[in-house]
């Protein structure tokens, strides 16, 4: 069995276009997911159990069901319910960010709770309000501890975006599959995809390492 470079070259423009969409989907989902995750994480640590309940529920549902199932539900159910038609890219961003938000919420919660209670007490005794303490004392320290697990989550999210090929979102994996089914080949399309995904996750982890180093307390 010979390795057909020619079909990789033929599909290179599509793979490139797909990779760009993969980047777009991942970056926007990371941003939206992080924002939602922060809100949900803060919601979960509220002392009022009734107010915190919906946030618990959210994390339970989105962490407790497979992303693939969520993708189908959002693509064929929720998006058409509101807009009357399907949109694979929109459904992809929604599914990825909602799913990531559940995990990121847990990362935020763990980060905040890992900061010693004495910090809160100390700041409060200096006359700062609870919110001020959160923003100026607890969150900046917690954020540093959250970077490694957040980095993990971002990398997982980038790779999970490949699941969107099932709803024909023209991202990297979609074109890999198109190439595979045209030529009935396995090695060429999927190795090419694997290589591009690896490159993308490497870039992402370099960026996160850099961020971690810069924020390191002296």
């Amino acid at each position: 069995m010979s390795f057909r470079w020619d079909i990789i070259f033929e599909y290179a423009p599509f793979l490139l276009k797909g990779a760009l969409l993969t980047i777009g989907l991942s970056v926007s989902s990371i941003l939206i997911g992080t924002f939602l995750g922060l809100l949900i994480g803060l919601g979960k640590i509220m002392r009022n159990k009734v107010l915190a309940a919906p946030f618990y529920f959210y994390v339970t549902v989105f962490r407790g069901t497979p992303l693939l199932v969520q993708i189908f539900l959002i693509h064929f159910g929720i998006v058409p319910f509101f807009t009357g038609e399907t949109n694979a890219v929109a459904a992809g961003v929604i599914a990825l960010s909602l799913n990531a938000a559940a995990y990121i919420a847990e990362i935020f919660r763990a980060g905040i709770q890992s900061i010693d209670n004495g910090q809160m007490e100390g700041a409060r005794s200096l006359g700062m309000t609870h919110a001020q303490t959160m923003i100026h004392v607890v969150l900046p320290q917690a954020f540093k501890r959250m970077i490694p697990p957040l980095g993990n989550e971002f990398i997982v999210l980038l790779k999970d975006s490949s699941l969107l090929c099932v709803i024909a979102a023209p991202e990297l994996m979609y074109w890999g599959k198109a190439m595979g089914s045209q030529y009935f080949k396995v090695w060429e399309p999927y190795l090419a995809c694997a290589f591009i995904y690896l490159f993308l996750t490497l870039v992402l982890s370099f960026a996160l390492n850099g961020l971690e180093r810069r924020l390191k307390t002296v």
Binding site: P170, G180, S181
Partner: protein
Amino acid sequence: MLKKVSFLVFAVVASLLLILTGCGKDKEVVTTGKEEDANGKTLRIVTDANYAPFEFLEGNKVVGFDIDFIKAVAKEAGYEAKVESVGWDPIFVEIESKRADVAVSAITVNDERKQTYDFSVPYFLSTNKILVPEKSDIKSGDELKGNSIAVQTGTTGQEAVEKLLGKNHKDIKKFENNNLAIQELLQGGAAAVVADNTVVEEYVKNNPDQKLKVVEDSQAFNEEFYGLMFPKGSELKADFDKAVNAIYENGKYAEIYKEWFGVEPDLETLKAQQ
């Protein structure tokens, strides 16, 4: 410590057992009762059980016209058949690498595929048709241009649409299977689905409440013939060709055909292709 280890061992064994029970699911052995026959070998037959009424899952059993057909043919040729649903793209990989003996999955015989695989004599006549909502204005293949079309990836439906719109055109949405493509149409994400006539006609018949109709365009879409697919150079081809013709003659084919499609098969056209 020992307790912990033995618990871990138990957990690993238990989970492997679970996996094994999962594997046995959609395989089915058909005994032909000709065990004294020297040929009585069990063949591994692969399909993609996602294409009603040709092959689909009923519970965990693979059923459909193709399945009844291959069982009859295998019996005629003196083999035992074990049908397994592996998915569409994997069929071609399994056959090319000779891990499976025969594929039956409404596979259209074309020159491109003939380069890599061997096919039996044709056993089914089909053409691609367009599935659209009842109120759609699309009346021909040409009018598909400018609309987004959902197809099953790797099918002749995809090929036919790419011939009209251009290869890998942005308006073509390729799905893993036909059900997802039709779902995309129902939810308004595509203006039409192009697939084999029997499949779209069956869908319309079984789902009258979805308000869909089938558009025919014999100019844009040619007649196609399905064949059993073998690895290149397979010795089974000759046996199966003979068996297919035998069940054409003895009425078994017509019986199965009528059972699934309710009409008499056009045997003349099929035989003329041989």
